[in-house]
Point group: C2
Chain length 272, copies 2
């Protein structure tokens, strides 16, 4: 089982990813595809006059502050993107079914309605956030679809225990799904080739690393991807790969050794 996460950001060659997904699917590899919708949400929010608001936590993670209007924009953007991804997969012959984390409580966890952030060196608490963590995955629903020939295409929002649609990080959602499915690989595709020792030098790509080193190397929003990788490995996933979506057969290239690889041994728990 392979779980593939592809960013919803600008400069992502989604067609290359979907074509590769189709090839793997046709060859009989069980797959789940997870996508983000940040870029679409930002664009739509600007058009609707609700500019995105990002906050940085004390630990340095960057998060979107999701008020109710932003969650609506997020639902619209992710709904459209999910439809378009499923449409493209159907057009090339992959029997995709789109799901949000709300469907069948696919991705469930606690809502955090407040977010701690630093403003001018002071801690402040922002309330009214519609954000959640993912603690449970409805594996039965995924297996039901997979066992009957459907490729699940998953997007957040997720759902809180109280039944509220909430925003959640798509990389960590992919990690939770990969863990729940005991995936051999979680492939996280973005518009960068992987973890770099020097962000200005593509040749400084780190081919294999540990979680501890990845935590040091990751900058900005890549920190969330490393957090997702750590959670996936701790959850039993065999290997996590960070790679670029923008190449021919990006998933197969990542599985064949491209990008940055983190194995279970890199957690220091399960030497392999």
């Amino acid at each position: 089982m392979i779980v593939i996460k592809v960013g919803g950001g600008a400069n992502i060659d989604i067609d290359a990813v979907l074509s590769d997904v189709h090839q793997l699917w046709k060859s009989g590899t069980p797959l789940v595809l997870v996508h983000g919708a940040s870029h679409e949400t930002n664009q739509l929010s600007e058009k609707l006059g609700i500019p995105p608001r990002f906050v940085t936590s004390e630990s340095g993670h960057v998060s979107r502050f999701t008020d109710s209007a932003t969650l609506d924009a997020f639902a619209m953007a992710s709904g459209k993107l999910n439809l378009r991804v499923v449409e493209k997969l159907q057009r090339i012959g992959t029997n995709a079914v789109g799901l949000t984390g709300v469907d069948g409580r696919l991705l469930e966890g606690a809502r955090k309605d407040a977010i701690r952030t630093m403003v001018d060196g002071k801690r402040i608490m922002l309330r009214g956030d519609h954000t959640g963590t993912i603690e449970k995955v409805n594996v039965d629903l995924l297996r039901l679809l997979l066992d009957h020939g459907y490729l699940p295409v998953i997007t957040v929002p997720s759902i809180s225990y109280a039944g509220e649609a909430v925003n959640a990080d798509a990389d960590r959602a992919a990690a939770a799904i990969a863990s729940a499915l005991a995936a051999s690989h979680l492939v996280i595709l973005s518009n960068v080739p992987g973890l770099l020792r020097d962000v200005n030098d593509q040749a400084s790509l780190v081919a294999r690393t540990t979680v501890a080193e990845a935590e040091t190397l990751a900058k900005g929003r890549f920190k969330k991807k490393v957090l997702g990788a750590k959670e996936a490995l701790a959850g039993g996933v065999g290997e996590v790969v960070f790679a670029t979506a923008n190449q021919t057969s990006p998933v197969q290239a990542a599985l064949a050794g491209g990008g940055t690889h983190l194995g279970r041994s890199s957690l220091g728990k399960d030497p392999a």
Copy 2:
């Protein structure tokens, strides 16, 4: 099996519908819910600067002209509405799963890329329409979900044979679903009590009618609902009911005799 269609229009008490859906579901009645998204799409299109465009066919049916930007708006609006409906059902304890007609090619048919319309008494042909009819329903996917305890919540777009997401009439989509599932009832809820002999007199509600009479009584966009009813009855559905969503337990009220009822005998095919 009961298929319930609820409009996405303004002045629809969706909470009353969902609460009733929950009660029926809890009691073990197999159900499928279909919703429209016209109102949300119109609102969003206006905000995005792409005002909705409606055209009237030679036979007097009113349709939305769906260019590519409008289909995107439609995908966004229906995606958000679907998420919110599934969220509300999950919150009250119904295990809903949202689907578009593109998912698993749930609702499939021919695309019509041109639309004939009358402008100033002249026939004109508008090209670039992303609209389709529904000729096939993926019943296996619906039964798979129903058999495993999930309530399908369905919205258009549908998918063309060529794999394009297309707009389709939600009433006729509900009719196709009800036919495919051999439903005993198709309940079409809107913001009017049913078919009226006099549109200005709510007391002129027609409790039971034939398709032929309904075709005479229906005005404006209600004609599409009657067309849906005709298709459903021809497809083997036991009874079609037009009723208002805006009352306590609207589905149960409709099943108990409220609104306007059309039975199979009204087609003149299967006298009962």
